[in-house]
């Protein structure tokens, strides 16, 4: 079992990284993992948070994701509270790969 239980304040989302590709993912309303944060489930419902924890634990054991943890969500913006988590949502503000793709 993960030791990273919900300890946050306000709305929560569950996040992790995909085991195979390493990309950041979040649980959506169907409790499936999505790379698109806009589809992430944000909730203060404690029963739902328990289900998210259970699902994340299960998927971590099933080697689908690694490093599960809850993140605090800003009520108004719906974005993560922590600066670091905002970066995980938005991706790098600069990546040489983007220039190559633009070419």
């Amino acid at each position: 079992m993960s030791t990273l239980k919900h300890k946050g304040k306000g709305p929560q989302s569950m996040t992790a990284n995909e085991l195979r590709d390493g990309y950041s993912v979040w649980l959506d309303e169907n409790l499936d993992w999505t790379r698109d944060f806009s589809a992430a489930l944000r909730t203060e419902d404690l029963d739902l948070i328990d289900r998210m924890q259970l699902k994340a634990d299960t998927d971590e054991k099933a080697n689908i994701v690694v490093g599960i943890y809850f993140i605090d969500i800003e009520t108004e913006s719906g974005m993560p509270v922590r600066y670091r988590e905002k970066f995980r949502v938005n991706g790098p503000s600069y990546d040489t790969a983007d220039l190559l793709e633009a070419k």
Binding site: R20, G22, K61, Y83, F87, S93, Y94, T96, A97, L100
Partner: protein, 549 residues
């Protein structure tokens, strides 16, 4: 170039085969992440902010063109088309996928490369003067000694689980291009009063959250005793280094807490217990290794040939580039060429696969197939005929690699920062780009002269901000990035840690403040003083006043 012997080849082949099965077991669920994590880290594979990151070792920063082409291949086939030169002369790939990594390691092994010991609490990849074997300033080529240390330290059973990581840098010149005094151990090849070649050993240097300049452990160590002496030093560290607090676990803390005199006594006492003949390397073996680094067959050439001097007179862009990016070579008619990876709009140290192939071709055509990576996140072609410089410059221009800013204000060292790194607290790449943009005028850069700006996105200091003439540390509070400034750091043989100026700035305020300091320096400097010289002459106070004006 060193070529793997049968033991090296077998070791790397075994290691990649082991890692393939470890990845298979991880993906099949037979290894947990807790079990797998130390295994992947031992093979240079990190899980960063957005994805995995593979750090490939470039031993002592020396590459051949075939190896660089392979790095281009990895960038294109398994990553997103580019690689990043680190401040330890390695190359990182930011977007590999776990199932692909064993194939990447196999491909690397095919050109005698690997990712072993680019992570973990072991002796890391040895770094070196990128001008090794090419500069007249050196007593001898330091790479055979670096290679000896590589062989000794690779999977060393006694030093695989040290209290913390351990970094060694080597040089053979008084002019320090390897930052040896900011390493756990720094080694300088020296001559004693009798003219015998040996080693001066520095210990306890490092950057990170506790920056310390290394102190002399031994003024002169005879050549045959290096590995035995390193063993003694590592044993003392392994025995007494703190394991209760990772932030106090580096050897620099041990040396500070013990005192250099007592620490030296402990090393010398340990050294007396070692049978040097057990571990010392024979002259024949040293000569065998040295033979792999024999100088290329330099032609007998005239210094400053007409092809070169005419181009200097007739091509202003070439002339400016040659003045900044080309250094003196030990052989007449040859030059050392620095390739800047700091064009204005790109991330410092990034190079695309296409550019890697272009540089590989240039290395083959102009530099005996050799190139180097530098801790300043640039590349070096070590052996170029002066007469070939105009043609090489044209090829660099075509490849987008002709930035003529080596050692100027836009030649910024910069860690990946919050854009990629899981440890970062703020971004560093956009800051470097904003500074480069503000000082984009090449004429202005040349007027300012030598200037080393170094940026770290967190207190771990991978961007070497403590030793920047201007050092910048990115931090974050309540979701807002801010940047602290240090002044007066020095990464040279006169190594010094910069002093913090005071409270931090937003990015915009920071760039304005730097510009005010630079303008103040230009008004205040005397003669040919660099920014650092003026700072040393007048002190921090006047610079702080304009920084916070």
């Amino acid at each position: 170039m060193y070529r793997y012997d049968e033991f090296d080849a077998q070791l790397v082949a075994d290691r990649t085969r082991q890692f393939r099965t470890q990845v298979e077991r991880r993906l099949a669920g037979r290894l947990s992440e807790a079990e797998f994590r130390p295994l992947r880290l031992m093979n240079g594979l990190y899980l960063q902010l957005h994805a995995y990151m593979l750090r490939v070792a470039v031993p002592y920063g020396t590459l051949n063109s075939e190896q660089f082409r392979m790095l281009a291949h990895l960038a294109e086939k398994y990553d997103r088309g580019y690689g990043h030169i680190t401040t330890r002369q390695n190359m990182q790939f930011n977007w590999p996928k776990l199932p692909d990594v064993p194939d990447m390691l196999d491909d690397l092994a095919s050109v005698q490369m690997h990712a072993i010991q680019t992570s973990g609490n072991c002796i890391r990849n040895v770094t070196c003067d990128p001008y090794a074997g090419a500069t007249a300033e050196e007593i001898e080529d330091p790479r055979p000694m670096a290679e000896l240390i590589r062989q000794w330290s690779t999977l060393h059973p006694e030093f695989t689980f040290l209290p913390r990581k351990f970094k060694i840098a080597v040089t053979a010149s008084e002019k320090d291009r390897a930052l040896i005094k900011a390493h756990d151990i720094g080694i300088q090849i020296v001559k004693n009063d009798d003219g015998d070649v040996g080693y001066k050993i520095f210990v306890g240097g490092g950057l990170g959250r506790t920056p310390i300049i290394g102190q002399v452990l031994r003024n002169y160590l005879p050549k045959g005793e290096l590995l035995a002496y390193l063993t003694a030093a590592l044993r003392v560290y392994n025995r007494y280094g703190r394991r209760d607090n990772k932030y106090k676990a580096r050897i620099k803390i041990l040396v500070q807490e013990t005192g250099i005199e007592t620490f030296t006594e402990q090393v010398e006492a340990e050294y007396k217990t070692i049978d040097i003949s057990d571990i010392s390397v024979s002259d024949a073996e040293r000569e065998r290794i040295t033979s792999y680094f024999a100088a290329p067959d330099f032609e007998t050439l005239k210094h400053d040939p007409s092809e070169f001097t005419k181009a200097l007179e007739g091509n202003r862009a070439f002339s400016l580039w040659a003045k900044n990016n080309v250094a003196a070579h030990k052989a007449s008619g040859y030059a050392i060429v620095n390739i800047s990876l700091k064009p204005k709009d790109l991330a410092p140290g990034d190079i695309t696969a296409t550019q890697m192939r272009a540089v590989s071709d240039m290395a083959d055509t102009y530099s005996f197939g050799e190139l180097r990576s530098t801790h300043q996140q640039n590349l070096v072609l070590p052996h170029v005929k002066q007469s070939d410089l105009p043609a090489l410059f044209a090829e660099l221009e075509a490849a987008g690699l002709a930035a003529d800013n080596i050692n100027l204000i836009s030649d910024i060292i910069c860690c990946p920062g919050m854009d990629f790194c899981a440890l970062a607290t703020a971004r560093s790449i956009p800051v470097s780009q904003a500074i480069a943009e503000r000082f984009a005028d090449p004429e202005r850069q040349r007027t300012i002269g030598e200037m080393q700006i170094k940026i770290s996105g967190c207190i771990n200091a991978c961007g070497h901000h403590h030793v920047g003439h201007i050092g910048i540390l990115g931090l974050e509070k309540a979701g807002v990035e801010f940047y602290q400034v240090k002044l007066g750091g020095d990464a040279s043989e006169d190594a010094a840690i910069g002093k913090v100026t005071g409270p931090g700035f937003s990015q915009e305020e920071l760039v304005d403040g730097i510009e005010r300091m630079v303008d103040f320096y230009l008004e205040t400097r005397e003669g040919s003083e660099r920014f650092l010289d003026t700072y040393r002459r007048i002190g921090i106070t006047p610079f702080k006043e304009v920084l916070y004006a």
